[in-house]
């Protein structure tokens, strides 16, 4: 035993020596010419925008290069946690807007407070600015937003004698009507784990997710307003939707193209999934093009409802060795030209003044309407933990299965309070 531990100790000492020598090797001097690494997630950023970014950056900074490294959304928080805190940190990173507070609160990003005006100031999407700020400082700029729209089948609407609804109550009533008129069809496709599309019911009935007072968060799911909203949603689950009670929001084009959905609330890009050509990599049902209608989810009292805004923020790593160059890259990504490319590709630009770049067709109009009223999740650094614990999926799934709203909501509030105030 003694000898064994000597071996172990020797190995440990050797290891420690290696670690020390490894440290000494790091730390290159900050030169003017360097390679900047930009992490973008998934295929969201269109190719045209990527090319523009690389070209513009390399023109403005002769001798320096910009490399885009595509990251996968799966496991992104883990990877950012390790990479941003390490010596191998990328310079510029895209982060999901709801994940952003987890990093702004721990000093992972460079402080951009005094650059805010230069980047767009009050023109930047306010909810995303909030998501990228912590303790009064601005760390992560808005990158783009997505909006949720309602897609519907014109033929089913015509057969039921319906028109696009003007209020949320009408929308729900239409959904029930369509479901009973068409066997095997969801009047509103509402899978139980799709919490993004569940939130508007709460907001439109006057409820909130959580509110902050004096640094203390209080979850609001069991407030009278929220409960009213969730009960309305439960009615949708029970009377209008045939979607799996434990299903999630992914791949809604599958039931839609199988003629099982009359109204579908989904991110705007789902239009392209539905209409993807038969000879594309992921075929949809392009024959439905003329039959596909779209409107912004109506609010309780008319107008567009508050819908959940998905999207991204963009930030500079505090460990970046070339912060000036990284900032140049970030500036390009928030430039009007670059954001216009995003807008033309159906993403809501980070600047409100560029909303018109979305275009003028039905989808663009609905997107702009929805984006104007979009809301975000609470800007607490712990919110990402609420999401990753999947409490909301479980909650709405239980509601979809007919659980008692009030008691489930009270239980959920307790759990969320625990996390947010940890």
């Amino acid at each position: 035993m003694r000898k064994f531990s000597i071996v172990a100790a020797t190995a440990l000492v050797a290891a420690a020596g290696l670690v020390l020598s490894g440290c000494a090797a790091g730390g290159s001097g900050g030169s003017d010419k360097a390679e900047i690494r930009v992490w973008l997630n998934g295929t969201d950023t269109p190719k045209e925008a990527r090319e523009y970014l690389v070209k513009t950056f390399e023109k403005q900074n002769p001798g320096s290069t910009l490399k885009i490294e595509e990251q996968s959304w799966t496991g992104l928080v883990d990877k950012l946690t390790t990479s941003l805190s390490g010596s191998d940190s990328p310079d510029v990173v895209e982060v999901g807007n709801t994940q952003s507070p987890a990093f702004t609160s721990v000093g992972a990003f460079m402080d951009l407070t005094d650059k805010k005006d230069e980047l767009g100031g009050d023109d930047l999407l306010p909810g995303f600015v909030e998501a990228g700020s912590y303790d009064g400082k601005f760390y992560a700029a808005p990158y783009y937003s997505g909006a949720r729209l309602v897609f519907y089948r014109k033929d089913m609407f015509a057969a039921a004698g319906l028109e696009a609804p003007k209020t949320l109550d009408e929308y729900v009533a239409d959904g029930e009507k369509l479901a009973s008129a068409n066997a095997g069809v969801s009047g509103i496709y509402a899978p139980g784990k799709d919490w993004y599309n569940a939130l508007p019911y709460i907001w439109e009935n006057g409820g909130e997710i959580a509110t902050e007072k004096g640094g203390k968060w209080t979850s609001q799911f069991s407030s009278a307003e929220s409960v009213a909203g969730i009960e309305q949603l439960q009615q949708v689950y029970e009377k209008a939707s045939l979607a799996p009670k434990d299903g999630d929001e992914t791949n809604p084009q599958v039931p839609y193209c199988a003629n099982q959905v009359a109204q579908l609330s989904a991110p705007s890009w789902v239009k392209w999934s539905i209409l993807a050509a038969a000879d594309s990599d992921t075929p949809g049902c392009p024959d439905q093009e003329a039959n596909l209608g779209v409107f912004a989810l109506p609010g309780k009292d008319g107008g567009a409802a508050h819908v959940f805004a998905g999207g991204s923020n963009i930030a500079i790593s505090n460990k970046s060795a070339h912060k000036d160059l990284a900032y140049d890259a970030l500036k390009i990504m928030l430039s009007d030209d670059y954001q216009t490319i995003l807008g033309k590709n159906g993403l809501v630009p980070a600047k409100q003044s560029l909303a018109s770049t979305l275009g003028t067709d039905e989808v663009a109009k609905a997107t702009a309407e929805a984006a104007a009223n979009a809301k975000l999740t609470p800007a607490s650094p712990k919110w990402a933990d609420v999401e990753s614990s999947q409490l909301l999926q479980d909650f709405f799934s239980a509601v979809a299965q007919g659980g008692d709203v009030k008691s489930l909501a009270t239980e959920l509030d307790k759990k969320i309070d625990d996390i947010l105030n940890k």
């Binding site: 000898k3 190719k47 996968s72 191998d88 949809g284």
Partner: protein, 318 residues
């Protein structure tokens, strides 16, 4: 494919309930043997057994078949209201996409990274484990038991809990995005199992065989290479297979440690097809999965013959 796990337990001494009348190395009379063999041959249940075998085969293979089947179908038919049991709308476009699609990490570098990592992992783990196994079986020394128990306990530690520390470790050595670094992590992951298993195999080769060879004029090293090593081949292959599968399929560490596009391994590459803001291309994922599985099958087929022949060879059975 065989993976024999054994411990130093000597079967004859550890099996008090074995009938004493039947010494393990005893030879039954030829007459008795013949009679039994004949009785076996006429058993009618062989049809039943064959039927069961077919069922086992179908159940084992079904998911594999479904993966391959889906990989040849257009994505919209992979999950549809009517299942497609055959690739009746056969297409190679999923393979074209995962192999040559433009925005993804290319397949070939990922394949090379995976092969490199796996080869290093298996090679190093086998050599190190073999040495350790020799130490704990051929020698008596203080701390031997502690070592064996420590090896067992190490297998219980959930690696997920140590990702950050491991990352820092590799970072300190400049081994991020390096095949060597990832291999080092994998070697540590498979080493306990490998040592443990090889220990049983080495134990199974009687030291007397080596000694006899030395009497016949072999040097100690010569005796080892000519006698012991060939007998260990099946054990080395069996544990090697285990290491192969682990290193080939591991995802979490590979994701965190190999962040550069050029450093991705196959499981990480495969995951790039799961996207948040587009349609999930299941057909492409299945095509990718099939490509990931093919080298494993090839490897299995290569080693399988060697292993079973080594196992049943009379020498092993003494």
């Amino acid at each position: 494919m065989t993976a024999v796990v054994s411990t130093p337990t000597r079967p004859d001494s550890a099996s008090p309930s074995a009938p004493k009348s039947a010494p393990p190395s005893g030879r039954a009379t030829t007459a008795a043997g013949g009679r039994v063999a004949r009785r076996r041959r006429i058993r009618p249940s062989s049809i039943v057994l064959s039927a069961v075998a077919v069922i086992v085969f179908v159940l084992s293979v079904f998911p594999v078949y479904w993966m391959v089947n889906s990989s040849f179908l257009p994505n919209n038919l992979v999950r549809g209201s009517v299942p497609h049991f055959f690739p009746d709308e056969f297409t190679l476009r999923n393979y074209a996409l995962v192999l040559f699609g433009d925005t993804r990490t290319p397949f070939l570098p990922a394949l090379l990274n995976s092969i490199g990592t796996t080869v290093i992992t298996v090679g190093v783990a086998l050599v190190f484990a073999f040495l350790a196994a020799l130490a704990v079986t051929r020698f008596r020394f203080r701390g031997r038991r502690s070592f064996v128990i420590a090896i067992l306990v190490v297998q219980m530690i959930p690696g997920e809990a140590m990702i950050i520390s491991t990352y820092r470790l590799l970072e300190g050595w400049n081994l991020l995005n390096s095949i060597i670094g990832l291999s080092l992590v994998y070697v540590a992951t498979v080493l306990p199992f490998t040592i443990w298993t090889l220990r049983g195999f080495v134990n199974g080769v009687p030291a007397e065989l080596e000694e006899a060879a030395m009497i016949d004029g072999c040097s100690r090293t010569g005796a080892f290479w000519r006698i012991t090593f060939p007998l260990l081949a099946p054990g080395l292959i069996a544990t090697g297979v285990f290491g192969f599968i682990q290193a080939w399929n591991e995802f979490v560490f590979a994701l965190v440690v190999m962040s550069d596009d050029s450093a991705h391994t196959l499981p990480v590459w495969l995951r790039t097809f799961v996207q948040a803001n587009t349609t999930t291309n299941w057909a492409a994922i299945m095509a990718g999965s099939t490509l990931v599985a093919i080298p494993v099958v090839v490897f299995f087929l290569i080693v399988q013959g060697r292993m079973t022949s080594g196992l049943v060879s009379g020498a092993v059975k003494g």
